[in-house]
């Protein structure tokens, strides 16, 4: 039985919206190469809507498929609609993700949200710090390497020892 769903394979083999945007309105970067996945999202906003979205991803098949799916789900949406995209919704749209991939590779929604926060910050519509949160769960933890509520990043820290 293949590890990934047909939908994941489709987005992995034919990723949508790969690339960068020149002079983007917002940029969001999450993850790091230590845990294996890293995503950068670029957005262009017009009339409060995401007019264009591009991404670059370093990571496994799931990470690439998640990025592609998020870009497709958010394209043309209003800021508020796009902010409602959660990792759970992305996984559902992809017809499921392997359990061990859910936390590590499902960072697309966070990367997009970070890009949106970056845009809102530049617009003066968001106060600094609000964008800081754990990329793995909903907690408003500071960006320490380990998120206290979900313990994400703990394994990575142990690796460094």
């Amino acid at each position: 039985m293949p590890v990934y769903s047909d939908k994941v394979m489709d987005h992995f083999m034919h990723p949508r919206n790969v690339g960068e945007i020149e002079n983007p309105d917002g940029v969001g970067e999450v993850g790091n190469p230590v845990c294996g996945d890293m995503m950068t999202f670029y957005i262009k906003v017009k009339d409060h809507r995401l007019e264009d979205i591009k991404f670059k991803t370093f990571g496994c098949g799931a990470a690439i498929a998640v990025s592609s799916m998020v870009s497709e789900m958010a394209m043309g949406k209003s800021i508020e609609e796009a902010q409602k995209i959660t990792p759970e919704l992305v996984a559902r749209e992809l017809e499921g993700l392997p359990k061990q991939k859910f936390h590590c590779s499902n960072l697309g929604a966070q990367a997009l949200n970070k890009a949106i926060d970056d845009y809102l910050l530049k617009q003066g519509k968001l106060k600094a710090d609000a964008s800081k949160g754990c990329p793995f769960c909903d907690a408003d933890e500071q960006e320490s390497p380990i998120c206290a509520p979900c313990r994400a990043g703990q394994e990575t820290e142990e690796n460094k020892k």
């Binding site: 992995f12 083999m13 990723p15 790969v18 960068e20 970067e29 190469p33 230590v34 845990c35 294996g36 996945d37 890293m38 995503m39 950068t40 670059k56 991803t57 370093f58 990571g59 496994c60 098949g61 799931a62 990470a63 690439i64 061990q100 991939k101 590590c104 590779s105 394994e155 690796n159």
Partner: protein
């Protein structure tokens, strides 16, 4: 679509002769080797014949020193736990290398939790253990040293003879995990000078579910499995006769063909080792360049991740493996690559080609043809690569 299997470290196909040898024991000869009747006798004879063949493969004079197990992992668990527990009245210090297989590493960690002391000796950037580091680590209470014969992820062959000289001087039991080498390169327990050695049948075209541990006569070991008197009371449980017979047959063939096999695989391996870095660029060869397994070519491809490379290769009919975090269930980069001093970023780009008997030059050519566009495609997607390009360090 063309199919090219280059993941022989994961598993080898059965040789047709091995399959033939196993068949009677899956059919008519179903008796229990411990039974003292006409049904048990042929099963017992077959098990003992296989024991002789395994002993012959590793140069052991006494077949009774061979204990059959279910796989390399069991052999390693048995060796580490069994040898340590048998000697714990002498001391509780164990030495292993930092690049051991998880079956050795985690067995040692389990003993650590039970109160044993563990020292991991480091490796250099080629994955080689320095015997002097082993010497320095030995204490009066050291009871066991376990260093693998060759690493299955980077192919480096370790200086087992030199380490054995030290352990003999210091009278410490020395085990080697030879799962990656037995049946693949010549392995002789007298030349190596070890006291115990693990092997697995599926690494040399025998079936999965077959393994063995050789323990020198006179070296005490505590069984992992308690029960009946099978395997001289050292490993209880009804023997898996077909698997044992299959491994025995595979060992017999390997002992004859080992040199021919090596001569066939080395040029293919070297074709990959030299040409892949040249065609793709920003590729690091991992492991020792000369002292390495004949069929193993391992690399780290910079700026991209191993699993996505593996998947794209699979989409073109090519099977490989990787030591990246994403391919491991543990979601950690390979401890082997990290111990060799590679950064996590580079280690994520790990890719491993392991050759087998059926591979031909044209297979390697097919891989070398497929790789550049796969790597390029992933690099075009990689934020690490665009950062690298923007930093002005030049392209390829």
């Amino acid at each position: 679509m063309r199919k090219v299997y280059l993941d022989h470290a994961a598993n080898n196909p059965l040789l047709p002769e091995v399959r033939e040898a196993m068949l009677p024991y899956l059919e008519d000869v179903f008796g229990n080797p411990s039974s003292l009747h006409d049904w048990g006798d042929p099963a017992r004879e077959a098990v003992e014949k296989a024991r002789e063949r395994i002993a012959n493969l590793i140069g052991a004079a006494d077949p009774e020193e061979i204990i059959f197990t279910a796989n390399g992992t069991e052999s390693n668990n048995f060796a580490i736990k069994g040898l340590a527990l048998a000697q714990q009245n002498k001391g509780k210090h164990i030495i292993i290398s930092a690049i051991e297989h998880f079956s050795v590493m985690n067995s040692a960690r389990t003993l650590e939790k039970m109160g044993f002391d563990l020292t991991l000796v480091p490796v250099d950037k080629f994955g080689v253990v320095n015997p002097e580091d082993v010497r320095k680590s030995i204490r009066p209470d050291t009871i066991l040293v376990s260093i693998m014969h060759a690493n299955g992820e980077v192919g480096t062959i370790e200086p087992i003879q030199a380490i054995a000289q030290i352990t003999r001087e210091r009278k410490v039991v020395f085990h080697t995990d030879a799962v990656a080498t037995c049946g693949v390169i010549p392995v002789n327990i007298k030349e190596l000078g070890v006291d115990a050695l693990s092997l697995a049948g599926n690494q040399f075209y025998g079936p999965k579910g077959s393994g063995a541990l050789w323990v020198r006569r006179g070296v005490r070991i505590i069984p992992l499995l308690d029960g009946g008197i099978q395997e001289g009371g050292r490993r209880a449980g009804t023997e898996d006769v077909p698997a044992i017979v299959g491994m025995g047959k595979a060992a017999e063939i390997a002992a004859k063909e080992i040199t021919v096999r090596m001569q066939k695989m080395i040029p293919l391996r070297d074709q990959l080792l030299t040409q892949l870095p040249a065609t793709v660029g920003h590729v690091v060869v991992t492991g020792h360049l000369l002292n390495r397994l004949p069929g193993l070519a391992s690399f780290c491809v910079e700026f991209i991740e191993g699993e996505s490379m593996l998947m794209l290769l699979n989409s073109q009919g090519i099977a490989v493996s990787s030591g990246s975090s994403c391919t491991s269930r543990a979601l950690k980069a390979s401890h082997v690559l990290i111990a060799m001093g590679l950064s996590h970023e580079i280690a994520q780009g790990s890719i491993l080609f392991t050759l087998g008997l059926e591979n031909e030059t044209s297979d390697i050519e097919y891989v070398l043809e497929a790789m550049p566009s796969i790597v390029d495609r992933l690099r075009q997607m990689s934020p690490l690569y665009s950062k690298f390009i923007k930093a002005g360090k030049g392209g390829q």
